[in-house]
Symmetry: C2
Subunit: 313 residues, 2 copies
């Protein structure tokens, strides 16, 4: 029996790590957002896949939220000296991932196959898949005009006021083969939407028609973890974006956002007062600690989700 | 008045450095072989241009003949750990050159313009140009079949027996703009074929019709420095290739090879006994020290060439 976790970067990776410490490799698939992927300096960079891989491999840099811990910056410094662009930081060891990914893609391998090779090389036992092998790019519609995800997120530091999003290519994208198999098999017993940014990390996954229609129709429970704690996002621009989209910055608004596909939402103890409001939406709200600073907390949240959804582990 | 040096990698770079210490920036153009250029790990790599640039910038690694001195290898080690290809070594700082070159090429800049930007960033005052901005790839025809230059040179360590060479794309390649201007102006007073591998480094340049026909027709003196010293090549597979092509490994054979375009050849004191044989070909042979270990020797050879061809400096 299989648990499927949908994840973006840091928050998703943390819960994926917790789940990986509880579930054996054959029982967990982590499907990762590719809307942030881009080509830079000739290299294909997949920030969310990298964060999930590095986190599961135990080499993620916890201070930055990207890259490899204790990585060096020789190439980046030399690139700066050459007058090259330094807005997207690339550590020396991190670079190897992008070089090898680009090399494999250039030989005709799809992103699933490339990811599998990298996962194996990093000695990760659990399965990780991109949500799709097809081109899918998040475009952030802002008051300053449309921009690519990296332009918005890194170059502009999330400062432009957001009006909306679109996911270029999503309409014609297929779910990655591992997801297609997962949807067809009777093994799947739970889908977890990790506490990633709903707009930037989860929406691009849900924008793939095959994934969306499966989640809407399936009888397998689909649950979410709210990325909002006490009216704030733990990391990243989720709260800022919700404000700009005239949404209340609350777990209720998150429950509303996922309403069509989830039956349960896990919210932080700081938001216990929102239970009634969420349950009015027909979504069960479960109050627990959703802040995952330690490994114990990551496993604790994973345990709670599996217990509350009746998954044996 | 301008001196044009045609160069490949290490040997050519050494003489170019010597000339750059004698001639002011406006009086020297170094035109570099691009037949070895290739795309690896998504990056455009131009080994001869890099060697010339790093040598002129004073940062070339003298021990390896490629790369930057005291460079680190964090990315390469990480790439090896990912199971990626390690046959082409890339230092961390060296990588920045390939990343920036690839980035600029991707924006639509041609190789001349990219090279100019890199040269400026490396604070090199003299002009360096690729021989052409067009695709030109050296194919080594061996007993084991055809192979790309890098496959032959690095992957197979020059071990396969050579039957011949061809320069894919040369027929339709144009000379780089800086060379075209140089050919049209009355400023050019000397062309020097540096002591690079005639088959692998100089032939690809001469295979460009516009360059070849200029050199055959011009009244400007064209001279060569023999890369053979005492029946051996100082570096690289020149002697091995000459053997395999059933050529005598001698400066006479080099003079014969360049016979159609040169009026003078500079040969090493070790080969003084070849003067008569060379002059029978109608090529003047000038005996001097062609081994350039020190900066003084590099400048010495440059001085000798300019003096013997009547160039004021």
């Amino acid at each position: 029996m299989t648990v499927l976790a949908l994840a973006g970067g840091v928050g998703g990776a943390k819960l994926a790590l917790g789940l990986s410490k509880i579930l054996p490799p054959e029982r967990l698939i982590v499907a990762v957002n590719v809307g942030d992927d881009f080509t830079h300096l000739g290299l294909r960079i997949c920030p969310d896949l990298d964060t999930v891989m590095y986190t599961l491999a135990g080499i993620a840099n916890p201070e930055t939220g990207w890259g490899i811990t204790n990585d060096t910056s020789e190439t980046m410094l030399a690139l700066e000296n050459l007058g090259g662009p330094n807005w997207f930081k690339l550590g020396d060891r991190d670079l190897a991932t992008h070089l090898e990914r680009t090399r494999r893609l250039d030989t005709g391998e799809n992103l699933s196959k490339v990811t599998k090779a990298l996962i194996n090389a990093l000695n990760i036992k659990h399965r990780v898949t991109p949500a799709t092998n097809d081109e899918l790019s998040t475009i952030v519609e802002t008051r300053q005009g449309d921009m690519s995800f990296q332009e918005y997120f890194v170059k502009e530091s999330c400062l432009p006021v957001v009006k909306g999003f679109r996911f270029q290519g999503a309409e014609s994208a297929n779910a990655a083969p591992m997801l297609q198999n997962c949807f067809l098999s009777s093994d799947l017993e739970l889908v977890i939407i990790c506490p990633s940014n709903p707009f930037l990390s989860i929406s691009p996954i849900l924008a793939i028609p095959e994934i969306n229609s499966f989640l809407v129709k399936t009888k397998v429970p689909v649950v979410a973890v709210s990325p909002i704690v006490g009216g704030q996002a733990l990391k990243g621009p989720t709260a800022k974006i919700m404000n700009e989209l005239k949404l209340e910055v609350s777990s209720s608004a998150i429950a509303q956002f996922y309403n069509k596909i989830i039956s349960k939402i896990f919210i932080d103890t700081a938001d216990g007062n929102e239970v009634a409001k969420i349950e009015e939406l027909g979504v069960e709200a479960i109050v627990t600690n959703t802040v995952m600073l330690t490994e114990k907390e990551k496993m604790g949240l994973g345990n709670k989700i599996l217990s509350e959804t009746g998954i044996e582990f």
